[in-house]
């Protein structure tokens, strides 16, 4: 068959079907990406002062654990997250509050009174009473919460993202 300057019927159908297929793939493909990603893009930012009860109930010089929970809605369920705060009253006036999240991979550390250390059970991370890393894999000291005392009640500022 002599080469026609015009597009052959077969060429036209090939291009048309290819184009139509591409459009359909884009129309279905792009929403699918959004469908998978959308829960990750929904950020529920909360910032709150959480009460840890009367300051008097915490002894001076000994890290003392306070546990509380916060609830968030994920999809069709409420997710309850638990938090632990070590309250250390360095003196009558000065109080520091540490998160019990290990800075390595978020296991929870516990205060061992006999060794005077925070111990992370997952990978043997050790922190001293001031939250500084003694040994093990943790890259940073324990996280501190900002705190305040109002009418003898201790509060910490919780920021979640």
């Amino acid at each position: 068959m002599a080469k026609s300057p015009h597009m052959s019927r077969r060429e036209f159908v090939t291009i048309f079907v290819g184009l139509l297929g591409t459009i359909m793939a884009v129309v279905v493909g792009l929403p699918s990406i959004g469908y998978i990603f959308s829960p990750a893009l929904k950020i529920q930012k909360t910032e709150a002062w959480v009460s840890l009860g009367p300051l008097e109930s915490y002894p001076i010089g000994v890290p003392t654990l306070f546990n509380f929970t916060r609830t968030r809605v994920n999809g069709w369920e409420k997710t309850v997250n638990s938090f632990g705060v070590y309250v250390l009253r360095e003196s009558e006036e000065n109080t520091v509050t540490y998160s019990n999240w290990c800075t390595h991979l978020s296991c929870r550390v516990t205060w061992h009174e006999d060794e005077e250390l925070y111990v992370c059970p997952c990978h043997d991370g050790l922190f001293d009473i001031n939250g500084e890393v003694i040994s093990g894999p943790p890259p940073r000291p324990l996280l501190q919460y900002a705190n305040k005392v109002e009418e003898d009640i201790l509060y910490i500022r919780l920021e979640e993202a």
């Binding site: 929403p31 959004g34 469908y35 998978i36 990603f37 959308s38 999809g75 069709w76």
Partner: protein, 219 residues
């Protein structure tokens, strides 16, 4: 460059011969009714893809099924679109598959040597209806619940073994979490596997035997 890659692959995979056998095979002069088989396949693939995406959020438990679908419809980006395609695609697929069967029947295309093509087609038709039946319960709303009550009650009228069949379908005496679990498993694993198998045989036979011409006055 592209043709070099294609040639390299073709030499090893035999893409051209697959293309020639599957898509460039000889067919008699036919009409638009002969596109219903391909349409069924495309709809099945569409149902498969949208179904896979729905399973990301859907939870097959009576406590969460309804709520998880509410999240898909209202919270997740384009969830309404994916579920909408799956919902309407299901109805369309039943229509197209039945029309495909009727076309084959009226053209008497099921005769020698195509009996097995017809039989695997029957398996595919019944599997499609089974997909409709099992998929109907999954939203776990009032309509699902009562439709499944009725559907599982029907075989109960068979003498002697009827109530046993009802109990097998329900996984017990009641429509429960067990029922939802087995309908879900049948919907996403058992029937799709059967459809893929039957479709493979069906398609192989269509390619091997070719399709019959439209009967004329001499037939």
């Amino acid at each position: 460059m592209t043709s070099k890659v294609v040639n390299w692959l073709d030499e090893r995979l035999g893409l051209t011969s697959i293309y020639d056998t599957v898509l460039d095979r000889k067919v008699p002069k036919v009409n638009w009714w002969f596109t219903l088989g391909s349409a069924s396949l495309i709809l099945f693939l569409l149902q498969g893809v949208t179904g896979i995406f729905l399973s990301v959020y859907y939870t097959p438990s009576p406590d969460h099924a309804y709520d998880s679908i509410q999240v898909i419809m209202n919270d997740v980006a384009f969830g309404w679109l994916i579920r909408g395609i799956h919902h309407w695609g299901a109805t369309l697929m039943v229509i197209v598959v039945v029309a495909h069967m009727l076309r084959t029947f009226y053209h008497a295309a099921y005769k020698y040597p195509r009996e097995l093509t017809w039989i695997t087609g029957v398996v595919l038709l019944l599997s499609t209806l089974g997909m409709g039946l099992t998929g109907y319960l999954l939203p776990m709303n009032q309509k699902s619940y009562w439709a499944t009550t009725v559907a599982t009650e029907i075989p109960g009228t068979i003498p002697y073994i009827g109530s046993f069949i009802t109990r097998v379908l329900r996984g017990g005496a009641d429509i429960s979490a067990v029922t939802l679990g087995r309908f879900f498993a049948v919907h996403i694993w058992f029937l799709p596997a059967l459809i893929v198998l039957a479709f493979g045989i069906h398609m192989y036979l269509v390619i091997r035997l070719g399709i019959s011409y439209i009967p004329n006055e001499d037939d």
